[in-house]
């Protein structure tokens, strides 16, 4: 039977700790240029607004904004202010953090289709002020922004989306 003679020695957690190891603290730091379109988007967030961009060729209204339509492949520059409301396209109830550690109180990431953008156009964010049991696809939600003085022009200026009451 193939594969035969498979090689490799697996270490359990203890074996790993007993093995000779070299530790390395990675220092990989970046300051990413946001550029034009994303700067506009983030300036919008700072002002408490969600901004999309319209392609003059296909007519789609896109979020997050980009300086070109990736489908028509033309440069675009027609920013559109959206309502800040939307619908849950899909969601998860996550007990696992980015480093695989576990949390008691789950987070609810979702793709939110934004009102005023083209159908199917959404962004990734999290839901709040909602019992995980009540979350469903199609749920109407609205953005909850940080207080104006706390907003920095970052995606986390939106604290979360909550159900529309």
């Amino acid at each position: 039977m193939k594969p035969d003679n498979v090689r490799g020695k697996n270490l359990d957690k203890k074996g790993f700790e007993e093995a000779t190891r070299v530790k390395y603290d990675l220092k990989a730091e970046y300051a990413y240029d946001m550029g034009y379109a994303v700067s506009r988007y983030l300036m919008g967030l700072k002002a408490g607004k969600i901004v999309g961009i319209k392609c003059h060729k296909c007519g789609r209204i896109l979020v997050p904004p980009r300086a070109f339509c990736e489908q028509c492949y033309v440069p675009i520059d027609d920013f559109v202010e959206l309502s800040g409301r939307g619908r849950v396209n899909t969601f998860s109830i996550s007990y696992v953090k980015w480093d695989a550690s576990r949390v008691e109180k789950p987070e609810i990431p979702a793709v939110i289709e934004l009102e005023g953008a083209s159908p199917g156009v959404g962004i990734l964010h999290v839901l709040g002020e909602v019992d995980p049991k009540d979350v469903h696809v199609g749920m109407e939600v609205e953005a909850v922004f940080k207080e104006e003085q706390d907003r920095k022009g970052e995606i986390t200026d939106i604290l979360y989306f909550r159900p529309v009451k």
């Binding site: 039977m1 193939k2 988007y41 996550s94 980015w98 550690s101």
Partner: protein, 390 residues
């Protein structure tokens, strides 16, 4: 493609290490073990190797910048030309696509294709590296991890087709069982649907037993031109078709319920292979299964089931090892393990062994003349497909 290809390319040897949660060996050592085994099984001498492909997923796992430069000696690249084609999780199958074009170009007669991943070096957990695949300005700060987007996609797939969790759990049951017969397997197990559903909810609807593990491992194949293959190999396995496709990075602007990019990649490969009716003309499949629903998703993208129908066929035993169209007879990523690029390679190795009738206890019951392997990667974005046949 539609143009005339210069020459045929064959796979003539394969090698695979054990798949492990934490390997004692370094990535360079694992690569060598797999590569040497592939070379021996091909019956070639090292000096016959004219080119090398090294395939491996993010440098952030092994923890070495430009890591193929570091792996190069263990992959046989000393004083040789090598290329590293890179399409995230799709890289393992892409490795053979690249090996194909290295040889099909006429520039090289042979190519040693090695795939490696050592994820266990990454602390505090390999999952941590996945935060860095997301949009640096608009997504990472949300604390996003890989489980999130799989859960989002799985939920979308279930919602659109009105699927139940039990239907998806069956994939884990099948693959973990198939892996019991795989000598390299990391987490083979006989489990029931109930056990899968009783396992920890990591990111609903994703349960722990629906997720492939983090893994260290390596695999390799030797590819050769028709002349060389016929000369040195009794039973070459031919590359009949290749296809790959990458969708937009704006993943939240796409409907995740169906993988268009897999369909496009499959169409490209089928066209090259002259396949018009994949369900009849393909006898065995190794679709990518890092998460349970993904196998179903990909079977649909590959045109091996109608949209939303893969779960029904699975429940009927259609994709079992003794079924009409065995899918992941190896045990897949869910059973054998998921050292990203090496996992895709493992799938290609499985086709190689199955098509040559060398899979032993894993050998599928129906006769097999042609198989398809597929890998997926990036932000729900890339499909890589290869059709192999004898």
């Amino acid at each position: 493609m539609g143009l005339k290809l210069r020459r045929k390319v064959a796979v003539i040897g394969a090698g695979l290490t054990k798949f492990m949660r934490r390997a004692l060996e370094t990535g360079r050592e694992l690569s060598f073990y797999a590569a040497r085994q592939a070379l021996d099984s091909a019956g070639l001498r090292f000096k016959d190797i004219e080119s090398v492909v090294i395939s491996t997923a993010p440098d952030a796992f092994d923890g070495v910048h430009m890591k193929t430069e570091w792996l190069a000696d263990g992959c046989g690249s000393f004083h040789r030309p090598y290329l590293r084609g890179y399409v995230g999780g799709g890289s393992g199958v892409f490795a053979l696509i690249q090996g194909w074009y290295m040889v099909a170009s006429g520039m090289f007669d042979t190519c040693l294709v090695v795939a490696e991943e050592k994820m266990s070096s990454c602390q505090p957990h390999p999952q941590g590296a996945f935060n860095t695949i997301f949009d640096h300005t608009l997504e990472r700060d949300l604390g996003v991890n890989l489980l999130w987007i799989f859960a989002l996609e799985m939920n979308r797939y279930m919602q659109v087709h009105k699927l139940g969790l039990e239907e998806i759990a069956l994939v884990s049951v099948k693959n973990k069982k198939n892996a019991l017969d795989h000598p390299s397997a990391q987490i083979p197990k006989a489990v029931t649907v109930e056990e899968v559903l009783a396992s920890e909810v990591m990111a609903w609807p994703v349960h722990r037993l629906m997720v492939s593990p983090t893994t260290d491992g390596a695999g390799a194949v030797v590819m050769a031109s028709e002349d060389v293959a016929r000369r040195v190999c009794d039973k070459p396995v031919w590359v009949e078709g290749v296809g790959w496709c990458l969708d937009s990075a704006f993943w939240t602007n796409r409907d995740l319920y169906y993988p268009d990019y897999v369909e496009k990649a499959a169409k490209m490969a089928y066209e090259m292979a002259g396949i018009t009716d994949p369900r009849r003309e393909i006898h065995i499949a190794e679709p990518y299964d890092p998460f349970a629903y993904k196998e179903l998703h990909h079977l649909e993208g590959l045109g091996l089931a109608d949209r939303g129908q893969a779960p029904k066929l699975l429940a009927k035993g259609f994709f079992d090892r003794d079924g009409d169209l065995p899918s992941c007879p190896s045990g897949g990523l869910l059973g054998v393990g998921n050292p990203i690029a090496a996992a895709g390679m493992m799938k290609c190795c499985e086709l190689f062994w199955q098509l040559r009738g060398e899979a032993g206890k894993r050998q599928v019951s129906r006769p097999v003349k042609r198989g398809v392997a597929q890998a997926w990667g990036d932000l729900m974005q890339v499909g890589t497909v290869i059709v192999l046949g004898v």
